[in-house]
């Protein structure tokens, strides 16, 4: 390991870090003061389409402050390179690492190991209601196509900081929509199991957002999309979507609002308003 005093040679100009900034692995990693590293047992679902999947057992040492994604990544890096799993951002913005943990839909990157007891195995399986590609990997195209059909615009008005004066030159405070298209809601929804054509909580919540804040969306097209036997009326309020959503979308409430909206529209038209 290089000394903290060694100046790195010929680093690209854009970085130009001082020597102290590119240092050694920090002192906490030295042998004398190893942090407590429990051994976790993970049961990961393994297999490929066409063969029966099975749970395989792994053990991995990590601090309790680490996350489930770290455990799975460490298992892949050090024990089994054939393990298939999705991940990208590790901070719950990409929505890629959705799985079922002990049966429940979670994002691996924000599921701390601390939640679990090292004595009991953690079961990790892929999401439900998506085509299974092997191990923990599913094909999320069915969800992305639904979201594309809705056309949810990624950027929305930022209501969280709306009470503050805007910086000069910024017309409106904006932020990304809450929905990270992780698919946890689609996996948790019992209706998705039985109906291939159901739009699903994420897409319906997206329609509600596009009607609430149009951003170039076509309200007539969106209402038609929602007002369908396989649209908003297919929901039976099982509420599991809102229970598992890691990103404050609350699809159940959005679907409720969407229904009220459609009912109001129908009544309005029925009473002679413009279509």
């Amino acid at each position: 390991m290089p000394d903290a005093g060694d100046a790195p040679t010929l680093l690209p100009g854009f970085l130009r870090l001082d020597p102290f900034e590119v240092g050694v692995a920090p002192a906490a990693g030295t042998k004398q003061e190893e942090p407590i590293m429990p051994t976790w047992q993970l049961h990961l679902l393994r297999g490929r389409p066409g063969s029966s999947p099975r749970l395989e057992s792994y053990r991995v040492e990590l601090p309790a402050e680490a996350y489930l994604i770290d455990a799975v990544e460490k298992i892949w890096a050090e024990q089994d390179r054939s393990l298939l799993f999705r991940h990208a951002c590790h901070h719950a913005s990409c929505g890629a690492c959705g799985v079922r943990v002990n049966g429940r839909e979670r994002l691996m990157c924000i599921t701390p190991l601390r939640e679990f007891n090292p004595e009991r195995p953690i079961r990790v399986e892929p999401l439900r209601h998506f085509p299974w590609l092997g191990d923990l990997l599913v094909d999320v195209a069915p969800m992305m196509r639904r979201m594309a059909a809705v056309g949810l615009v990624l950027v929305r008005r930022d209501e969280l900081t709306a009470d503050r004066p805007l910086p000069e030159g910024v017309e409106q405070g904006t932020r990304f929509e809450d929905c990270i298209e992780c698919g946890l809601c689609l996996s948790a929804c019992p209706v998705m199991a039985a109906d291939d054509a159901y739009l699903g909580p994420a897409a319906l919540a997206a329609i509600e957002r596009m009607l609430a804040e149009p951003r170039g969306g076509d309200p007539v097209r969106l209402r038609t999309l929602a007002d369908d036997p396989h649209g908003v009326w297919r929901c039976h309020s099982a509420m599991e979507c809102t229970a598992v959503c890691p990103s404050h979308v609350d699809p159940a409430s959005a679907i409720g609002r969407l229904r009220r909206h459609l009912i109001r529209e129908k009544l309005r038209r029925w009473m002679g308003g413009n279509p």
Partner: protein, 129 residues
């Protein structure tokens, strides 16, 4: 369909693994719904006895008042009450009302169902002796 094994099949709605109050409420709603439809057909079928004269009907009523039959009535009331009360819950939730309280509402529905069923069963057995 080797690409789509266990994660997407019609009975998937009955899979309670990983599901909580809302999922359980949904499952019970479907089961009681199916039960009530079955009961409806059974009831209509039984009513044909009315067209077969007083002896046929009285004979049926004698059976209908027997304790085992009344117990089945108790189960019917259980299912009916659950379906009706949860139906109110689902109607509200489906319109976006009370969503943050959905789990609590479910326990409330269960409690009320059991309470009212208990009262009904007590009443039935009191009346019929």
């Amino acid at each position: 369909m080797t690409g789509e094994p266990r994660w997407k099949r019609a009975s998937g709605w009955a899979d309670l693994r990983g599901r909580r109050e809302g999922g359980l409420a949904f499952l019970l709603m479907r089961l009681t719904g199916i039960g009530l439809v079955a009961y409806l057909f059974l009831h209509l079928y039984t009513l044909r006895l009315l067209a077969q004269g007083p002896e046929a009907w009285d004979a049926f009523i004698a059976v209908a008042k027997s304790p085992p039959f009344l117990a089945l009535d108790g189960i019917l009331i259980l299912g009916l009450l659950y379906h009706a009360l949860n139906g109110v819950r689902v109607t509200l939730l489906g319109l976006g009302i009370g969503v943050p309280h959905q789990a609590r509402l479910f326990w409330g529905v269960l409690a009320l169902t059991l309470l009212l069923t208990g009262a009904a069963v007590y009443a039935i057995f009191s009346i019929t002796g």
